[in-house]
Amino acid sequence: MKKKLGTIRENGFLYVFEHFIDAHRAALIALLALLAIAFPYTPVADRSTQRIVTMILLYAMLGMGLNVLTGYAGMVSLGHAGFYGIGAYCCALLTTRLNFSFWPALLLAGCLAALVGFLLGLPSLRLSGTYLSIVTLGFCEIVQMVLKQWDSVTNGNYGIRNIPKPELFGHQFNLQNGGFYQIILALSVLTALGCLAIKRSKYGRAFQAIRDDELAAGMMGVRTARYKILAFVISAFITGVAGGFYSVINNGYIEPNNFVFNVSVLIISVVVVGGLGTIRGMFFGAALLQLFPQVFPQVFRFLNEWRFVIYGVLLVAAMRFRPQGALGWQSTLPYPLSRRTREELAHRSVLPGGEKGATP
């Protein structure tokens, strides 16, 4: 069945854009996958481009992690650098001290962060809004202190050196051969799929219901405490895995200063600028915020000293004029009913909402 897109003037840009993508979904995904896989073998992929793209995907993953907590469940965390650091140190310590292979260490990094997320979630149940944010801010500082002071384990301010590069069946992954990029590509795609699956299930709906109206969610039978903790756990897991990955790409060296409060701010900026609650927004926000400091000083050399001021102004402007984020629009496509449901409804010759999606 071929749908008419209509003109932009008739239906609006967003409608035409989204329906075009929807109609050519398979082809676009194939094209994107091809580009993503071919990237490290193309001439543009020199060391610095590889590094930038790797960082973009890493921050997209960090964004998706925070997005589960902030975008879906509506709880703002300023402490995700803490989970990030825990994941990184866990992975680094397991590989350097206990001779773990990278892959199980990565998984355990996520699990440890998830466990800490669970523990942080417990006292946070009674808090909301600003108070919760302050607790998470404190958490970030505590992690920072522990990393700096617990010399016997974390080696304090000296950090951990000589973290081995990941290997699989004798193949080493590094920056030059595009291995880092391949790992983070796989991780971020898996994360995106996982987040989509969560969002389109009773778990994601419960998170969003809590975000929109916690009392009403409770009245519908959602065990709000349990789901808020679950959001913390999932979010921390993703962030911990991202941290584990970070520990190997930073020239085999991590130190406490890699996980300061500024990193939390950068992660939350990705989520807010990209579009709260969306997946596409995390990739976009990460690209924007990673490219800005790379591209800006080269193009606007004369403004270099002002770059953080401009950066701040842009963030404030984004909050003021587009609080839903750059790509945070409400979809004009119909709700993605499962195929079974659509077949059943077509059988009864009832199409809910007709061809059209949300009427604005």
């Binding site: 219901a209 109206d213 009403a216 009245m219 909402g353 949300a358």
Partner: protein, 259 residues
């Protein structure tokens, strides 16, 4: 034994007794209305029935089980669902998602089943979607399935709330001023819909200010004033009850002048 039996429920906010020893009962299949002037304690009674507030005294029995002291989650699982006087939809979610949240307690799959989209997950999800669409069509919102809740006109948002409550598979629906903000044609339609609910086997406890709705569909009416029950009876008894007229209009003389 009544379907819902409320005995001597009392709630105090500091020095103010918001609900004072109220008794009432609802039989299965009835439409019972709770009316009274503003501040009479009607919504507070709903909050006590659904576990938002703990009782200071009294007890509530539903289908032979004590429900006072239980959490809202337990109560909705036992079969009581409500709507809110001030709309409390999930505004950033679609209409169908709002209704699917209503079905949350009966949506049975594990986290990992949903993560890996197993056949069991898909079957369950599809079943709930179909039921949600059916409920929305029955309430006349079939064309709104895909819309975001915040984009709907007021009257339709009220209907979504009812649909969401129905999706919990409740046996008793507590509707808090469902006709508020509706025009006469809409409230007429709502009235017919509530009667259909009754035919479909639901029991309804209703708070409503629109007297046309109340008098037309109620089997029985309870009148609250200042947290106390001041009258009970069938609609035609209530309209002629001197205490009710005094509570609403403030005194004998004005009441007579009204005739």
């Amino acid at each position: 034994m009544s379907f819902l039996n409320v005995e001597g429920i009392t709630l105090r906010f500091g020095g103010l007794t918001a609900v004072d020893g109220v008794n009432f009962h609802v039989e299965q299949g009835e439409i019972v209305s709770l009316i009274g002037p503003n501040g009479a304690g009607k919504t507070t009674v709903f909050n006590m029935l659904t576990g938002v507030y703990r009782l200071d005294a009294g007890q509530i029995e539903f289908m032979g089980r004590r429900i006072d002291g239980r959490t809202p989650q337990e109560i909705v699982t036992l079969g009581i669902a409500r709507t809110f006087q001030n709309l409390r939809l999930f505004p950033k979610m679609r209409v169908i998602e709002n209704v699917l949240v209503g079905a949350h307690i009966h949506t049975n799959y594990s986290f990992f089943q949903s993560l890996f989209r197993t056949p069991a997950f898909r079957r369950e999800e599809s079943e709930k979607e179909l039921r949600a669409v059916e409920i929305l069509e029955s309430i006349g919102l079939g064309h709104r399935v895909n819309d975001y809740a915040e984009g709907l006109p007021y009257g339709e948002q009220r209907k979504v709330e009812i649909a969401r409550a129905m999706a919990t598979d409740a046996k008793l629906l507590l509707l808090d001023e469902p006709a508020a903000g509706m025009n006469p044609a809409e409230s007429e339609e709502l009235l017919r819909f509530i009667l259909r609910l009754k035919e479909a086997g639901y029991t309804v406890l209703l708070i409503e200010h629109d007297m046309r709705v109340v008098m037309n569909i109620s089997d029985r009416i309870y009148v609250l004033d200042h947290g106390k029950r001041i009258a009970e009876g069938r609609p035609e008894e209530i309209v002629n009850d001197a205490r009710v007229i005094r509570a609403y209009l403030g005194g004998e003389r004005e009441a007579n002048a009204e005739d």
